[in-house]
Symmetry: C2
Subunit: 203 residues, 2 copies
Amino acid sequence: MARPSGSDAGVTGPRVRDAAERLFAAHGYAAVSMRAIAAEVGIGAGALYHYTPDKQTLLFQLMRAHLEEVIAAWAETDPKGAPADRLDAFARFHIQFHLDRPEAVFIAYMELRALEPDNFAVIETLRRRYEAILRDILAAGVAAGEMQVADVPLAANALIAMLTGVTTWYREGGRLERGEVETLYAQMALGAVGAQKSSAKTF
Amino acid sequence: MARPSGSDAGVTGPRVRDAAERLFAAHGYAAVSMRAIAAEVGIGAGALYHYTPDKQTLLFQLMRAHLEEVIAAWAETDPKGAPADRLDAFARFHIQFHLDRPEAVFIAYMELRALEPDNFAVIETLRRRYEAILRDILAAGVAAGEMQVADVPLAANALIAMLTGVTTWYREGGRLERGEVETLYAQMALGAVGAQKSSAKTF
DNA sequence: CTTGGAATTGAACGCTCGTTCGGTTCATAT
DNA sequence: ATATGAACCGAACGAGCGTTCAATTCCAAG
């Protein structure tokens, strides 16, 4: 018995990536064996190598696909209005992405050290590009006099860490709804840089 | 040659813990082998077992010692004044601890998933106790009308994540001095909850 | 100067790791 | 009906894992 009935690469491929993503996020790249991934999918360990040349590439491709998706998704979400409104939108967008794909985001931020140098360079470039979005918003806010930020890169790092941290505690079906979490984090982000939404301005 | 000259448990013991802390923080618990730790210390792998019953306990004791130290240190730092001033002090304290011992703090927050259930329960209790400090400050700030916080546990989580994130980018000798980083993070923390230091109040 | 315990070596154990590969079965196109 | 390639199994490889232990050497107390 070598090829079970119903086997299909179009089905198994995504299942391999899903299983790897789940397990990497839960236990960490180094702690997850190829056999564990295969068992999660329900195939033998050897069959994994129809879907990835090796374990490292499996991680790398998960991270790259995710980061490219995030960057592309923001490009379509960016309201392109006042900096304070863009920051509000960015905070909500970031939170939404985390709550939609907690595993992928967690891996992208936590398993950088597991990447081999060449792969790390690629991922790091994408990560910097994403963080540059927030830096640009803050710089524009300072220029427009809408925000008080003493150091833009520092503030961007601090806000990203704050927003990303939502995955460490939020659980679906808990005390707070997703929309509430979004709103509260966005308010804190605006408050941290001394800004407020244009709709809340007091003239 | 089995026992080299100059060997001394009083010296080797701390060096084992230091090496483990450094390597765990850099590569992750699962990715660090006992042989790698031993090599860093300059002894054989077998000799490590004079200083720890096993690898898991080595991690556990590092985390517990660190968390107990943080909690004790804050008890002596707490200004016990107005909530806004306590939050300012807490933010500075947290940042200082991160910059003094980036490896230990990083491990305590990142390697929770590497702990066996019994050890996890102990560490989780200590971690909650530390986070409760911040929750108490925020709750007092809300009660005193000094802060606007819609949800105290959420705000505490967000602030802790923001403050802890400093380790991911700060490097000694970089663009910013430690004191500046402290001040900027404390300002952002206060801003995020709509507070300000008592010395900055406008009467 | 002797002696006993402390510190360490280095080999070895059983196990699991990532990866390879020959063989086997299923799905599909002709 | 047949043939071909895709999908997969299961065994195997060498390497490295955490851990144990007898043997060995150093240090300090008497």
